[in-house]
C-alpha cells in the first residue's frame, strides 16, 4: 500500500503519469462528468423556464347567463418551489462550468483545490437534490391535490405544463446523480484495491 501511495504522487515524473490518472485530481472521467452535469442542469433550467401553457376555461356564473371564457396561464414563476428549482439548477450549471475550467487549468498543480472542489461538489449535490425534492413535491400536489386541506389538482387542466415540468425534474435528477458520481468516483479511484 505504501508503494502505491508513493506512485500516486503529483510528481510530473512522466513514468508515473499513468498512475496519476488514478490519483486525486483530474481525470478524463471527471471532466466528462462535469460536462454532462453542466449540460443536464442547463437543459433542465431551460425546459422549465420555457414551460408555459394557456387554457381558456369557461366560467358559468348562473344558468341564465352565457359562460364567459377566461384565459388562465400556467408559468413557472407562479410557484416559489419551481423558482427555487430553477435557481438551484442555474447555480449548479454555473458551478459545473467554473469547476470544469478550474480543473482544466489546474491539472493537479494545487492539491488543496481537490478538497475544495469535492466539498463544493457535495454542496451542489445537496442543493440540486433539495431543488428536485421541492419541485417534485409541488408537482405531486399538482397531480393529486390534497383533499385534507382542500387543494385541488391542476394537472388535469394544465397537462402539457405538468408533463414538461416532470421531464425537467427528471433531467435535473440525472444531473444531480452526475454530481454525486463526481464526488464518489475520485474517492473510489484513490484506493482501488480496497474495493
Amino acid at each position: 500500500m505504501e508503494g502505491e501511495h508513493k506512485r500516486m504522487s503529483y510528481g510530473v515524473e512522466g513514468v508515473e503519469s499513468k498512475e496519476m490518472g488514478k490519483a486525486v485530481g483530474v481525470s478524463a472521467c471527471d471532466l466528462a462528468m462535469r460536462v454532462l452535469a453542466f449540460m443536464l442542469t442547463l437543459v433542465a433550467a431551460i425546459v422549465i423556464s420555457a414551460d408555459k401553457q394557456t387554457k381558456v376555461v369557461p366560467i358559468q356564473l348562473s344558468d341564465s347567463l352565457p359562460p364567459f371564457y377566461l384565459p388562465f396561464t400556467a408559468k413557472w414563476h407562479q410557484m416559489s418551489a419551481i423558482l427555487y428549482f430553477l435557481v438551484t439548477n442555474a447555480i449548479a450549471c454555473t458551478y459545473a462550468a467554473l469547476s470544469l475550467v478550474l480543473a482544466l487549468v489546474n491539472r493537479g498543480k494545487s492539491k488543496g483545490l481537490w478538497t475544495v472542489i469535492t466539498v463544493l461538489d457535495a454542496f451542489m449535490v445537496a442543493l440540486l437534490f433539495s431543488g428536485n425534492g421541492a419541485a417534485a413535491a409541488v408537482g405531486v400536489l399538482g397531480y393529486k391535490g390534497n383533499s385534507h386541506v382542500n387543494w385541488k389538482r391542476v394537472c388535469n387542466v394544465f397537462d402539457k405544463f405538468c408533463d414538461q415540468m416532470a421531464a425537467s425534474i427528471g433531467v435535473s435528477f440525472i444531473g444531480s446523480l452526475a454530481f454525486l458520481l463526481l464526488v464518489i468516483i475520485p474517492v473510489v479511484r484513490l484506493h482501488p484495491r480496497t474495493w
Binding site: E2, S9, Q78, T115, T118, N132, G133, A136, H148, H191
Partner: protein, 190 residues
Amino acid sequence: MSSTDKPGDTEYRPTSSTPAQAAAGVDYFKFDVILRFLLFAASLVSVVVIVTGNETKFLPLPRPAKFRYSPAFVYFVAALSVAGLYSIITTLASLYAIKNPALKAKLLLYFILWDVLILGIIASATGTAGGVAYVGLKGNKHVNWGKICNVYDKFCRHVGASVAVALFGSIVTVVLIWLSAYSLHSRVPK
C-alpha cells in the same frame, strides 16, 4: 503520529518522515464522532417534532392536521429516520476506528461515499417538506391553494422547526464530507 504539511503548500516538498508516518494525515476522528452524534440528534429531533405536531381545529367539524396527510411529510419522516439510523451506525464505526487506527484510511473512503448519499437523501427531504410547508404558509392564488398556517398554527410551527433542524442536519453532513475529504487529502503524500 505527526501531521503532514499544511494544505496551503503547493510545492513538491518530499516528506522527511518515515514511510509509516507518510501515510498519516491529520486526525479529526474525535471531531467526526461529535459531528455524527450531532447528526443523529438533529434527525431524531426533526422526526419527533414533526410526528408530535398533530393539531385538530373545529371548523365547526373537527378537522385534524397530521403529518400523514401529506406524502411530502411522510417522505420527510422516512428519509430522516434512515439518516438517524445511518448516523448511529457511523458514530459507532467512527468510535471503533479511534480504537483501531489501522482502519482509518479505509473508513474515510466509506464515510465519504455513504455521507454523500445520505446528504442527497436529507437534502431532498428538507427541500420537499420545505416546499410544501411554504405553500401551506403563503398559499398560492394562481392555483387556488389557500394557506393553512393561519388556522393550524401549532402544526405549522412544528413543521417549520422540523425543517429547520433538518437543514442544520444537512449542513452537518456537508461538514462531515469536508472533514473526511480533508483527512484523505492530507494522507496522500506529496
